[in-house]
């Protein structure tokens, strides 16, 4: 198959997913609201003092991001599985990893990218010193694609189970730990005034590696799931 | 022998509780794993017996049907 038609198939899958998602806006917006609400809960739980909030801000925002990614995971393949679209994708002449990549891309556009935009709001609510804002956004920008790709693997594996919510978090959260560690450390460095470039580069490397390999895992998972 | 008496062995220079707890838990965990294996086998045996009985019932019914049809054949002829 030539590159032109592969490209067209990829964009078609993405445009269709976008079109569907934009008609079910609540599915897109709810995980984002979830992040804001979780962030709001922390000052109420640990007190509004800027020293303690500022210390935990990065961790809270990142953990909320991980959880919201899991919350939005159903959107990835659930409907496709139920209405038969998944079978058609598996039978499509286009390579399935490519189509999986497209779906991951749409998921990131609708769940990862908005988090980057929301980050300053969350940082403000949690009194994160302004020196860390830029790095926080940067880590979210390179980290959320990893979230979307890994979530897609988990969602692909559990899509045929119907009740995959708790199981999915069990499968995925341990795999998110490196992401959490490097992202938090990067912001920490920025707050201390030292360079965070090392961690950001590391995260970027992880992102590229994940985006390279994850589509194949997603494709394998989907093939198992349409059984 | 690093210890002169049983008491010393159990006391372990004051660390007895930790050392024996660690060893005890290890032993327990491996024992549980083994017992679980044995129980699985027992359950499998029960399942096999059930299956055997099921097959015997099916075989008996087929035998009866065969006899009946044979009887019917005999009476008509």
């Amino acid at each position: 198959m030539n590159n032109m038609s592969m490209w067209r198939l990829l964009t078609t899958v993405m445009r269709r997913d976008l079109a569907v998602a934009l008609r079910r806006r609540s599915d897109v917006v709810n995980p984002l609201l979830f992040v804001v609400i979780v962030v709001t809960l922390f000052p109420l739980a640990v007190g509004p003092g800027p020293d303690i909030l500022g210390r935990i801000a990065t961790g809270v925002i990142w953990v909320a991001a991980l959880l919201s990614s899991l919350l939005g995971s159903e959107r990835l393949f659930r409907d496709d599985f139920l209405d038969g679209t998944l079978e058609q994708l598996v039978l499509s002449p286009a390579p399935l990893p490519l189509l999986a990549f497209g779906k991951v891309g749409v998921h990131w556009l609708l769940s990862g990218l908005p988090l980057v935009v929301l980050a300053p709001l969350c940082a403000m609510l949690l009194k994160l010193p302004i020196a860390g804002w830029g790095t926080l956004m940067l880590t979210l920008l390179v980290g959320t694609p990893i979230l979307s790709a890994m979530t897609a693997i988990g969602a692909g594996l559990t899509v045929s189970l119907g009740r995959g919510g708790a199981l999915l978090s069990l499968l995925l959260l341990p795999l998110f730990i490196p992401l959490l560690i490097f992202a938090a450390a990067a912001v920490e460095n920025a707050l201390l005034g030292t360079s965070a470039i090392g961690q950001v580069l590391l995260l970027t490397g992880l992102m590229l590696l994940t985006l390279l390999l994850a589509p194949f895992a997603v494709a394998a998972a989907l093939r198992v799931s349409v059984n | 022998m690093a210890f002169d008496s049983w008491q010393e062995l159990i006391w372990m220079g004051g660390y007895g509780w930790y050392v024996w707890l660690a060893y005890g838990m290890t032993f327990l965990a491996i024992a549980l794993l083994t017992i679980h294996g044995l129980l699985t086998r027992k359950k499998l045996r029960q399942l096999a017996v059930k299956k055997q009985q099921q097959q015997q019932r099916i075989a008996r019914r087929k035998q009866q049907e065969r006899n009946r049809s044979k009887l019917a054949d005999d009476s008509t002829s």
């Binding site: 198959m1 038609s5 067209r8 198939l9 078609t12 899958v13 445009r15 269709r16 079109a19 569907v20 008609r23 079910r24 409907d79 139920l82 209405d83 038969g84 679209t85 079978e87 058609q88 994708l89 598996v90 039978l91 499509s92 002449p93 286009a94 349409v226 059984n227 | 099916i58």
Partner: protein, 214 residues
Amino acid sequence: MSAVIEAKQLTSVRAERLLFSELSFQLQTGEILHVEGPNGAGKSTLLRIIAGLLEPLAGSIHLFGQPQWGDPECWRRQLLFIGHKPAVKAELSALENLHFQATLDGVTNVDAWALLETVGLLGLEDIPAQQLSAGQQRRIALARLWYSQASLWILDEPFTALDTYGIQLLHERFQHHLQQDGVIILTSHQPLTWSGDRLKKIRIEFQDDGELHE
């Protein structure tokens, strides 16, 4: 005449139950295969195996003499599978569904409006599919048949939810496909109003002692 599709000695086991064993068949150009059998006998499984969604426990399938997994891309181009799930996106309108599906099927110059008219959905094109009836949704799914360039159609219960006119329309389309040397494999609980030797039948029986034993 060469065999378009040939299945050899297919055996399938699902959930530790034997569905069918050593099933073989061969279809020449222009033939239609009607897979019959009661519910749960394994008709859908057979169709999914032929489509390449499932793997048989044993046996092989050849299309134009080529093994099923020899060239997956070519295989999938030659094949059109419509399962009992219609693959119609509930949020999208009939027109959008047709448009996206045609592109994914690799057909670029499809006249979506003409297609809508053919399958009798003109005037309903703006309505999200979830507000259409089951029969209308099936028509959206089946509209693929009118632009399809695949030679092998695999259709799982295509007549479900269709009205008499829809059924007749589908029959006409089948006739046309067969005349163009296409091949169809389908399941249906309805008798096919077909005459002639183009129609082949296989029947899968429900194996009540489908336990695996020698």
